[in-house]
Point group: C2
Amino acid sequence: MANSRSGDSVIDRIVRVLATFDAEHTEQTPTDISRRAGLPASTGHRLVGDLVRSGVLERDEEGRARVGMRLWELATRGSMALGLRQAALPAMGRVQAAVRQHTQLGVLDGDQVLFLERLSHPDAGANITRIAGRLPLHASSSGLVLLAAAPAAVVERVLAAPLERLAAETIDDPGALRRKLAEVRRLGYAVAPGSIEAVSTGVAVPIRDRGSVVAALGVVLPRGEENDRVVAALRDAAAEIELSLARSSTILATFES
Amino acid sequence: MANSRSGDSVIDRIVRVLATFDAEHTEQTPTDISRRAGLPASTGHRLVGDLVRSGVLERDEEGRARVGMRLWELATRGSMALGLRQAALPAMGRVQAAVRQHTQLGVLDGDQVLFLERLSHPDAGANITRIAGRLPLHASSSGLVLLAAAPAAVVERVLAAPLERLAAETIDDPGALRRKLAEVRRLGYAVAPGSIEAVSTGVAVPIRDRGSVVAALGVVLPRGEENDRVVAALRDAAAEIELSLARSSTILATFES
């Protein structure tokens, strides 16, 4: 792999260019992309041109670039994310219909929760921007569920790092986080009141595939509305998703083969 | 961009590697990837290693590579596909509940329909493999809707190319296709009986954003079940999605800014 003088590879530079795109930056000029990717303008312009020619980026009428449908297709078609979200979507729909609050599916990725899917309450469209978004493990109910089931090395690494305080009630003390993880393991679900916003509480349960926790299913409730019915709805949905995952490996192996 | 002796760029080789992954090939050895990408083994192994180091691919315990969650995140976060499917998902759910058949959302991409979303009937899990899948424009109801609204240059290009016959009833004659497109424009929806499988019929309607057709919403019905109720359900859903798209540009622009 050809490296630039600064030592980063072409792949690293491509990743840096792609990382400049998000829900608030879906279309950008090559100049903005270069600046946000920390690349010299000439390098950035040339790379954007090459990415457009390969269909990884697309150019609109005004010369701004956006993430290409081709890249979405390549990244989605063979992704584990697709199988998981497809297995989860019907049950997530039923949770959302029953609980009538934001319902989300997250996985552990690089010491963070990465959200694969989020169904928003009809009146709360703004949350569409959070799919493919991330949250720290210690600060969300989904993250606590994933961390409670993570290998000891991951737990110790998270406990040793600074625990960012997103809100007044975020757990930012390693001892308190260790006790919270023990509680999550004992209860089989996580409740995180006010850890992101004072007005809301996250509740999440684990989803297992062949014995291992592979995802967390959670809802975001108005503060004070945590109750057994919500936990029961999440657990029923998790059981349904686990059944679907167990079946889907067979289906995937037999379909179109 | 550094080119190999055969003249293809690093980006082209990365795209070829990523294109070897699909629902039937989610985890592959570097040797299989090299073979399916048409790359010399040494080039393929080195490229897979570089892609794993950047998080674009991930390696499992047995040394096989899979598409990384990081690539899915990069490709999804800033993608137009995400906004469109989020705007469409609630209405698609209602179509599926009412019609009780496969419901899908497709866009025009490179003279084909690329499917962004597909909700399967609960008893038909196998169809999960078709998200991020493609179909020829002339052979599917979604494709006919998109082609009927496409620029004349696209229509002429498709009419001039061989029209692949996927089933006995696929329209494979340019004159017949031209007449079918006129019918789709007149009716405002497309019906494609038996064009992919003799036992099923596709019905699709256009979805517009700021006056232009940006997607097609379709259902796959058992043959003979086409009726006005299905078309009405699709039209209601399309109107709802168009309203959501019109609102979402404002929401996306004001949220988190």
